[in-house]
């Protein structure tokens, strides 16, 4: 019943990690153990959303999640390949809309939008999708282009 080996599927690949300490955050497992540095550490207190990843398809703040608490799940990060078409579409929409300034918040925003679209569909009301991004901060205040990217995704056919 104590935490032992950690099994995750990360971006489609099954991984087994031994000796992950109980206090380790999912954020640190991804960044430092798996060298997936796309997921960003912003505040480490759940306020900024920069560390957002998908756990079994649902958005998750990886800084406020013990890695062992998501043992057995499938984790998707910004690095995911073409097998995740939705994340690919959100990345492309960000590129087309120029939806970034310094870029630090971008992986969190992309994963938050991908998670929302997976939950609600591209036909969800605009208001609901934009409200659903309330947990992600852009300290450059570059929100206008991010909203444009969301609007472009809404008009796309899934």
């Amino acid at each position: 019943m104590t935490a032992g080996q950690l099994r995750l599927t990360v971006n489609g690949t099954a991984v087994e990690l031994a000796d992950v300490p109980a206090p380790e955050r999912l954020l640190d497992t991804l960044r430092w153990r798996m060298k997936l540095k796309g997921t960003k550490e912003g505040c480490r207190t759940g306020d900024c959303g920069a560390c957002t990843v998908l756990v079994d398809g649902r958005t998750c703040l990886s800084c406020l999640t013990l890695a062992h608490e998501v043992d057995g799940t499938s984790v998707t990060t910004i690095e995911v390949g073409p097998e995740d078409a939705l994340v690919g579409r959100v990345r492309a929409a960000f590129e087309a809309a120029g939806a970034l300034q310094c870029g630090y918040c971008t992986p969190g925003f992309v994963m938050a939008i991908a998670g929302l679209l997976r939950e609600r569909g591209t036909g969800a009301p605009r208001e609901e999708l934009l409200e659903g991004l309330g947990g992600n901060l852009c300290r450059c205040t570059g929100y206008t282009a991010i909203v444009r990217a969301v609007d472009a995704l809404r008009t796309e056919t899934p």
Binding site: A3, A22, T45, L66
Partner: protein, 283 residues
């Protein structure tokens, strides 16, 4: 940050036993962990052992007639997404969807919110207005405590050593409304929240305020001034004035007392109008 080990019990009995192997404060349960990991990060707590509740069968939502039992480890997002909750407890739906952001609500739980007993909780005022009861399991057996008694002050509850919150029970569906005041509309801590519900069975009103130290509070005098049905405009104004003059409205770093009094009067009037003008209000 201090080290700890993590145990993952399969049953409530195992979880209660694991909690008792160490002194209180040295063992802590984890549900969604969004409060717990924040407190760990800030160095506010230093448990030696964390007991995961993730394998306990408490991610439930059960209707029994009009009564609703919400499992303590159900993610808030699941509560918000339930169409029956939205229809029969509109105020609770509003309160839940204003907690943090979506990603936080995918992990945060109702049980965690109650045990943290934050004066700034957006959920507890609404639950007080719905006469919520807390179902506890522990070494001395099960017990049910009214939420009003369970909540004491910030980080202090009626929870005894070895006890866990299993579920929260709402005795009946009620026309209800929830309003808040914040600096930023999203992902912020409320300066003041107002929860209003009409208890159809006994034809009486509940008004609760929160976002204010030391804890959320029911305002029975303000509620009584609304009478036993749909209030006239003068009664609504009296309820707002009564709420605004209540001693429960103190100052802290988020807002002054005067500001809160001014805001609360308006929010109470607006919330009462939403409830009494809503479709579900009994004739």
């Amino acid at each position: 940050m201090a080290s700890f080990d993590l145990v993952v019990p399969e049953t409530a009995e195992e979880a209660i036993a694991a909690l008792q192997t160490l002194a209180p404060g040295e063992a802590a349960p984890i549900a969604g962990g969004t409060n717990l990991l924040f407190d760990l990060e800030e160095g506010r707590i230093a448990p030696r052992r964390i007991i995961s509740l993730r394998r306990l069968p408490w991610r439930t939502l059960d209707w029994n007639g009009g009564a609703l039992t919400i499992g303590s480890t159900l993610p808030l997002r699941s509560l918000e997404d339930d169409p029956e909750v939205r229809r029969r407890h509109p105020g609770l739906y509003e309160a839940v969807r204003n907690v943090g952001g979506v990603a936080l609500r995918h992990r945060a739980t109702l049980g965690g919110n109650l045990v943290r007993s934050s004066p700034a909780s957006d959920l507890t005022p609404m639950l007080l207005a719905l006469d919520a009861e807390v179902d506890l399991v522990g070494p001395q057996g099960d017990r049910r405590v009214p939420l009003d008694r369970f909540l004491q002050s910030s980080r202090r509850t009626d929870l005894r050593p070895g006890e866990l919150v299993r579920s929260v029970r709402l005795p009946e569906a009620r026309p209800s409304a929830f309003l808040l005041q914040r600096v930023r509309p999203a992902n912020d801590i409320s300066q003041v929240v107002v929860a209003v519900a009409f208890a159809s069975s006994e034809r009486s009103w509940r008004i609760a305020v929160g976002g204010v130290p030391p804890r959320p509070t029911l305002l029975p005098e303000a509620a009584a001034s609304l009478g036993s049905g749909r209030p006239d405009p003068a009664a609504v104004r009296r309820a707002g004035a009564s709420a605004a003059s209540h001693s429960a409205l103190a100052a802290d770093r988020r807002a002054s007392e005067e500001y809160r009094r001014r805001v609360v009067g308006h929010l109470v009037e607006r919330a009462v109008a939403m409830v009494s003008g809503g479709e579900g209000f009994p004739a």
